[in-house]
Symmetry: C2
Subunit: 195 residues, 2 copies
Amino acid sequence: MHQKLITYINEHTSSPLTNEEMQLIETSFQVKKLRKRQYLLQEGEICKYLAFIVKGAMRQYNIDGNGSEHIVNFGIENWWIGDRESYTMLTPSAYNIDALEETELLTITRTEILKLQNKSPALIEMLRLLDEKNAIATQRRLSSNISYTAEKRYAEFERCYPQFIQRFPQHLIASYLGITKSSLSRIRANAFKGK
Amino acid sequence: MHQKLITYINEHTSSPLTNEEMQLIETSFQVKKLRKRQYLLQEGEICKYLAFIVKGAMRQYNIDGNGSEHIVNFGIENWWIGDRESYTMLTPSAYNIDALEETELLTITRTEILKLQNKSPALIEMLRLLDEKNAIATQRRLSSNISYTAEKRYAEFERCYPQFIQRFPQHLIASYLGITKSSLSRIRANAFKGK
DNA sequence: CGATTCTTTGAAAACAGTCAATCTGTGTGG
DNA sequence: CCACACAGATTGACTGTTTTCAAAGAATCG
């Protein structure tokens, strides 16, 4: 169960994990299984866990004044999920996180991470890289959202995340792109005509 | 000149800088002065500098297929600016960064930062926190962009960055919000009527 | 099969963008 | 000191895109 995480860390850091570090990871990360539709985090709570997805798929979203959901992130196998802001600042989260499928997670609390600070340099480096990649990805997405039409954003999404198109219903992808499901349906219809 | 940066670091980390660290900062960060409209980075270049703004104001923006500019970030005194993606990955940047006013920067190259890795824990911690804050801020902005109308986004902007409203012309703020200057002008006119 | 979820589509309304003209204030150079 | 250029802001008329709401069709699952 923890093996996937260990492999992930080794693939994303310069020096491989020592035996002691592997031990630490086994004890610091708790297994958590979620059924479809089950919450990992609900709006208003403080995000207790940073979670590595071993199997399954999740989404992070908020709900606006009209009750509409807006997906800010998807997560699948080998991705991480959690509300960084709430997790690091210990503030109530503005987001919900729930499972889109049966999901298996490895979770770690903030306290546990702090304990590992001096014990596992590889893990800490990995988390730093994660922040870095995350900042870059979010920046890109923001930039694309500001600069391009829904049609181009969908094309880009299709190109970057073909797996998601297969895996998630359209209305979720529409929500991720910041448009309505009707609009996405029409965009797809047009793109098809164009071919 | 470097004093403002030293103060900034001390305010943003747990342990104050040692004398050696202050020395290191003086030698690692180069002063750079930019006139209004001068570039720090142009699209296609690799972003050589991460810059701390001592005085002045800057913007980071991209240009879409139609030649329109889209501002992804502003920077003023005590903020950092640079294209993280290009800077860390050494890839050609999709952005331009230029000065909106006469600006004084303290710049550091990637190589210099790597050299400091083992020499100044405080600086490294500060950079990590910067990444973290940056990721959080970008996430918030993305979320607001997906979830709210231009009118609400402007209201939020007004609340969060009142200094910017004074300081930057409206068409730049419109570009930051992802709308045209005409639309922003009308939104402001409506908001005024509403009061 | 029946229920639920997902997708498509139509018509009207709301919204934002484009283009162009005008108005404002600022600052420069003659 | 005036004339002029220039950058910024506003406004109107028009266009185009996206949303909304509702209904109906398709797919999936227990």
